[in-house]
Symmetry: C2
Subunit: 325 residues, 2 copies
């Protein structure tokens, strides 16, 4: 039975073995660059953990794990182009370092390799289902990204619509990472469904928490000063729910503050935060997150697998979803 850190190291070794040393180097250098600048390898570790529920030989899920990590990095490369982002994980983004064309083309070849790695999965009977699962997730991620772009221009986004966007853009890949790992181990439909739901609901809970912590988190624990999303007028669960609940006057105040860059940041953060508190947003979001988190654990309970293997997956979720907000 391997723990999270052991699985992460196992994956890192597999990643090294599968370094892209094909030619032309102008195509594969950006791929190796983005795959190499790290991240927590959350998704591949989830694939390996899902495999371990059904088969102690987690190496069976290494190709699936690499597939989801390549897919995730493909989406980062193209999202960074769309957001015109200069930095990713503290390093220049692919398009900033290698140019727009390299960003587009390296992303494309990564999406293809995300499919192609599934071919190396040893359980051949699961191959078709693995390819279909990747496609299903990949389509959701693209659609979610488009909704995210659309929502930036809208002031009337509903909370359910926002949560659905989050589900497509981020939670679907967490669910898919678990599903692919489980498929690689030959898990049955029902167990895969509960695992997938566990991943999806954990992903949504995490994103709600992320929005909450940006404004209401303990700066020492979160590691940054609160209010970044407010300063950047970022659409979050907080502002969306606040606009839904507010009376006309408060709504007007919120819309004036949000979307303006005339206020000094501290004043803007304080005034918006006060309005959030008046509207009881923190309590609402804590409850909402807890609701998704509990539903997620209910699904994990229903997966038929050894308790000690499930415990590691539970611990991973607990490390993501802090108990005390």
């Amino acid at each position: 039975m391997l723990g999270i850190e052991e699985l992460r190291l196992l994956f890192e070794d597999y990643l090294k073995e599968n370094h892209f040393d094909q030619r032309p180097t102008a195509l594969y250098d950006p791929v190796n660059y983005i795959m190499g600048i790290g991240g927590k390898r959350m998704r591949p570790v989830m694939s390996l953990l899902a495999c371990q529920l059904f088969d102690r030989d987690v190496t069976k899920a290494l190709p699936a794990a690499l597939s989801v990590e390549i897919f995730h990095n493909f989406s980062l490369v193209h999202d960074d182009i769309m957001d015109a982002a200069p930095l990713r994980r503290g390093q220049p983004t692919v398009h900033a370092k290698f140019g727009l064309n390299s960003g587009v083309l390296a992303g494309d070849v990564m999406l293809i390799y995300a499919y192609d790695y599934l071919r190396h999965s040893p359980l051949k009977s699961a191959y078709a289902e693995m390819v279909n699962t990747l496609s299903k997730v990949a389509i959701k991620v693209c659609e979610g990204q488009q909704y995210d772009i659309n929502f930036e221009q809208q002031t009337d986004v509903s909370l359910p619509a926002y949560l659905e966007m989050i589900e497509m853009k981020t939670a679907a890949l967490l669910a898919g990472s678990l599903e692919l790992g489980a498929l690689a181990a030959g898990a049955g439909t029902e167990d895969r469904f509960h695992l997938s739901e566990f991943g999806r609901l954990t992903g949504i809970a995490f994103q709600i928490q992320d929005d909450y912590l940006d404004t209401f988190g303990d700066p020492e624990k979160v590691g940054k000063r609160p209010g970044g999303d407010i300063v950047q007028n970022k659409k979050t669960c907080l502002i969306i729910r606040a606009l839904e609940l507010a009376d006309d006057a408060t709504r007007e105040q919120l819309l004036t503050l949000y979307g303006s860059s005339d206020y000094p940041p501290e004043e803007k953060i304080n005034r918006v935060t006060d309005l959030f508190i008046q509207l009881d947003i923190p309590a609402f979001l804590k409850a909402l997150r807890n609701q998704y988190q509990e539903q997620a654990y209910d699904h994990l309970d229903q997966v038929k697998a050894p308790a000690d293997a499930k415990k590691i997956l539970f611990d991973l979720a607990e490390s993501l979803l802090v108990r005390e907000l």
Copy 2:
């Protein structure tokens, strides 16, 4: 037995039935736009023709045909971004009409659907091989595109390197279109190999001919004035072979003419064309094209399929590769 035009219409009907009416429309409108502005549907027709060699029920290859057409259009959308091209088939390119972000994201979702459509192919036993074939081709197309970008900056590209780039960037997808259609009909390895080679070699022959005709074609038959590639300093078989053959003085002349925009277009075309003729480039390229064309037909001969079905594929190649250059 269906002819080329019947197959094209069959494909157009299938394309209409499979209109992308999913949401969000901001994602799928660009997809329907590029899929709708036409083209000759050469690749899907090739898939259907390949299927017809082994199974008269060509509808079996419709999902594969749609897959290759979606893939082809994905590559056009992203290539047009990389080339900053304003027009495609006489219409605005996707990124020109819908913006860069839509071009990137619509292309991504098309690449995913190119995989996903293979799922609808009725011969389930061929599914894994179809997915692998698409990946193999898709990787070649990306690598070929990168070589094409690289070569634009180089003055020392060899003819074999240029032909390999062409093979990857365009001929591989023609080969893949035939392979996928044959797979959908349950064709065996050997027949698929010969069909694939027929497609690959026809593709290379066609591209050599294309380069030749741009400078030496009959304007009435080609439908445009000769010399466009010369005016645009485009890297072609002609200039690459000429630079390989030329003595130092001629090479100097060619490099001065090519890469300069100081000459009046007519004078530049005439002077470069004269140098090509002095170096006997037209005869060399005719012979080279014929060599690929003959090899292509040799492979078609070796496919074990009814002569009348093979005749249609032969006629398609003949319509692409004119007898008298």
